[in-house]
């Protein structure tokens, strides 16, 4: 089982779109895949038209495999399941504080799922908290969407700095550019300046209004419009991830 966390301190960078499309593409390779919506906003659950059961909440999530397993739901796509988010996830940080080893909690809770799933994707909330640290420990890859702007790059550097100052394994962090507008010179310059950095993936996702329409389709873009420019870019990104990055972790 490989776990991939779509993470960024910043919001609105395309984490959910990437998590939804990449998990869909992983399942298309006939590999059983789970996407865990960890963001209390529940955007990926919304995209898949799935809501958590009435009795499901953050406490159940922290109780571990069996409770988690009971709340997993099949998406409309073969081999792709989803663990829906609940609004109570906003309390996860406080609840984690009560745990003995909060940083290791998520990894431990998902252990039993390793028999069932080849890939687990986390759609993470945009912040840097104890919950994020628990996600960092659980993930094999922390995949960070970065908009090629100065602020985004700064936030990305902050994340790497946090890993270094806390003795975390920063080799897990991989970044890719998203919402790229090639007509903007700043975008082009920033991408060029990061080209030689090994933590940046080669493939990037262009700005494409179709991605925004995922909220209307309520489905992965790659499922409804596989020929869209962004769909093709996600496909290339998944190929790079699955062929070059994931086998090495």
């Amino acid at each position: 089982m490989k776990t991939i966390a779509l993470y960024s301190i910043k919001g609105g960078v395309g984490k959910t779109a990437a998590a939804v499309n990449l998990s869909y593409l992983a399942s298309r390779d006939s590999l059983s895949t789970l996407i865990c919506d960890l963001d209390p906003q529940g955007a990926s659950s919304y995209y898949f038209r799935i809501a958590a059961g009435e009795k499901y909440n953050s406490t159940k999530f922290l109780q571990g495999s069996k409770k988690i397993y009971r709340n997993i739901k099949a998406t409309d796509y073969d081999q792709l399941d989803l663990l829906p988010s609940d609004f109570s996830y906003r309390n996860l940080d406080l609840e984690l504080l009560e745990e003995k080893k909060p940083q290791k909690k998520i990894r431990k809770n998902l252990e039993e799922l390793s028999d069932e799933y080849r890939y687990i994707f986390f759609d993470c909330p945009p912040n840097l908290t104890l919950f994020s640290e628990s996600i960092f420990a659980a993930a094999d890859i922390i995949l960070v969407p970065v908009i090629p702007t100065t602020l985004s790059i700064r936030t990305y550097e902050q994340l790497k700095g946090f890993f270094e100052s806390n003795g975390l394994d920063s080799s897990k962090i991989k970044a890719f550019f998203t919402m790229v507008e090639k007509r903007k010179s700043m975008h082009r310059d920033i991408i060029e300046s990061c080209e030689s950095q090994p933590d940046f993936l080669k493939q990037s996702i262009p700005y494409n209004s179709e991605v925004e329409k995922m909220g209307l389709y309520r489905a992965p873009l790659n499922a409804v419009l596989p020929s869209a420019i962004a769909s093709k870019a996600y496909q290339r990104l998944w190929s790079e991830l699955s062929e070059a990055v994931l086998p090495a972790v």
Binding site: S30, L31, S32, F48, R49, I50, G53, Y69, R70, N71, I72, K73, A74, D76, D78, Q79, D81, R218
Partner: protein, 520 residues
């Protein structure tokens, strides 16, 4: 979360899809997604080992998948180049399906059992926010026999989706109301229906002796029953040998042959001496005719192990050896297949079967001097007792450093005892005979491994000897030499293990069990 099982409803009149959409309204809408024809071929081993583990092997659209006959869950498909008549699990690409099939089938081939064509309409069950909560498949099933299509049944299948239990309960209830409870089938029943329609008898082969002999029956009748059983096993394996489907066909054929010979030699007087002599000779000749073919099979099965025994630089030189073996196997297979098809062989087996059937209905004249009239249980006790004593006597006489000849001879004694225990097992309580067989099995494994290793070395020496007349190939000779060294080391390990294994067998516990068995 409990797995939601796939359920089906059978309709002999066919399924009208028109009535379906209104069934689940207003809670769910039915969205017709796809109409298509699909051909599915079902596979299993000769022994139905996948079915035994509640699994159906399905090949469709150039993919293979495993269907759980309890839950109806299907594994992710694995692509397959063609839809072969049979294949070995080892030939599949690496992955879950290969691992599972290697576990279920081992070295047995998966054989195509039947092909079904499905005329299918797929529906999605959509809730109020258009989320799919399950699938319905409305199918008309046809059996494919060559170019002919034969209608079997109409079927509605509900495939639930994980996490949508409430909808599942509602849909299955509505379907039950619509089609009637009596038409509800689980996935396994559908599988059985398909096989039955195709004229395929599931679980029709089991090489284990499961006869219920009667203790007071004349032993001639019991022997005839046993011999008819072994005759049946030989016959059922013939086509698999000729078709070269897998190596187990020949192996089981030979086990049945040995059992036949063992019965004829150990149960004296069950038939007139001239009959016994004739058939002992005939069955011995058959054994000889397939020895070389079995030897080739054994080597081919050990191919990977042999390569692993040697360092890669030396192992590579074994390639021509196995290539030659492959050619020899082809010749031997052709020769033995011709024999199995021959009129002489068929006539012999038919006459043998007639003789056994006659023995069942006319067991002979009742007279005191006819040993065939002895009660089966008395013969069982006497012969097992005798064979048991022989094993113990010979085993105890073997010194600390056992010779090849001593271990060879003891192996044969053990085999004879094992066969007798298996033949007559139904006459004794399972709780007594089971442990005796278990203890004996361990000893047999040790002796079997020892003798096999000796025979393999002998054959390799023979092959090296034959190389004298061929162009020099020092690399192959050294590889074979290396192999002999490895086999010899293993054989010596087995030799050393013998005394310890025999002591575990020849102890108070086994003796008590055997005494209990024989003094019933």
């Amino acid at each position: 979360m409990a797995v939601l099982n796939t359920i089906c409803f059978k309709s002999s009149e066919g399924v009208s899809t028109r009535s379906l959409p209104v069934l689940f309204q207003p809670s769910l809408n039915l969205h017709e997604e796809l109409r298509r024809k699909e051909r599915r071929s079902y596979y299993d081993t000769f022994e139905w080992s996948c079915f035994e583990h509640q699994t159906a092997v399905v090949v469709k659209n150039r993919t293979i998948s495993l269907l759980d006959l309890q839950s109806g869950l299907e594994t992710a498909p694995l692509s397959l180049k063609a839809c072969p008549s049979h294949f070995l699990p080892s030939t599949l690409s690496d992955g879950t399906i290969k691992n599972r099939l290697e576990f279920l089938a081992g070295i047995r081939a998966l054989m195509k059992r039947c092909t079904i064509e499905s005329d299918m309409v797929t529906f999605r069950l959509l809730d109020q926010i258009e989320k799919t909560t399950g699938f319905l498949f409305a199918e008309t099933l046809f059996l494919i026999k060559g170019n002919r299509k034969e209608r079997i049944a109409g079927l509605i299948t509900l495939k639930p989706l994980k996490g949508f239990q409430d909808d599942y309960v509602m849909i299955s209830r509505k379907l039950e109301e619509h089609f009637g409870t009596e038409s509800r089938l689980d996935v396994k029943s559908v599988f059985m229906l398909l096989m039955e329609s195709a004229g395929v008898r599931v679980n029709d082969y089991n090489p284990k002796i499961r006869l219920a002999l009667r203790p007071d029956n004349p032993v001639r009748i019991s022997a005839a029953e046993l011999l008819l059983f072994t005759h049946g096993i030989m016959k059922s394996n013939e086509s698999g040998i000729i078709g070269s489907i897998d190596t187990e066909f020949l192996h089981e054929y030979r086990v049945a042959l040995r059992r036949t010979r063992s019965l004829l030699s150990q149960l004296k007087g069950i038939f007139p001496p001239e009959i016994i002599l004739r058939y002992r000779q005939a069955f011995r000749d058959i054994g000889k005719k397939c020895n070389a073919l079995r030897d080739c099979d054994v080597y081919m099965l050990k191919k990977t192990a042999y390569f692993n025994f040697l360092p890669p630089l030396l192992a590579v030189h074994l390639v021509p050896f196995f290539e030659e073996l492959e050619l020899i196997r082809k010749v031997e297979l052709k020769r033995f297949s011709d024999f199995l098809r021959s009129k002489a062989y068929r006539t012999m087996l038919d006459e043998w079967q007639t003789l056994l059937n006659d023995a069942l209905v006319t067991p002979g004249i009742e007279r005191e001097s006819d040993p065939g009239q002895d009660a089966s249980i008395n013969v069982a006790v006497k012969t097992i007792g005798k064979a048991w004593k022989k094993v113990v006597r010979h085993g105890r006489a073997i010194p600390a450093e056992a010779s090849d000849g001593e271990l060879h001879a003891l192996r044969i004694d053990c085999k004879k005892l094992r066969y007798l225990l298996e033949f007559f097992s139904s006459l004794f309580p399972e709780k007594t005979i089971g442990p005796v067989v278990k203890h004996l099995k361990e000893l047999q494994e040790n002796l079997g491994a020892f003798v096999d290793l000796a025979l393999q070395q002998q054959a390799l020496y023979g092959y090296i000897d034959s190389m004298k007349t061929k162009p020099a190939n020092p690399e192959l000779a050294s590889a074979l030499g290396g192999l002999i060294v490895m086999l010899h080391r293993r054989q010596e390990k087995e030799r050393k293990a013998f005394n310890r294994t025999f002591r575990r067998f020849d102890n108070d516990e086994t003796e008590t069990l055997v005494t209990e068995l024989l003094n019933r």
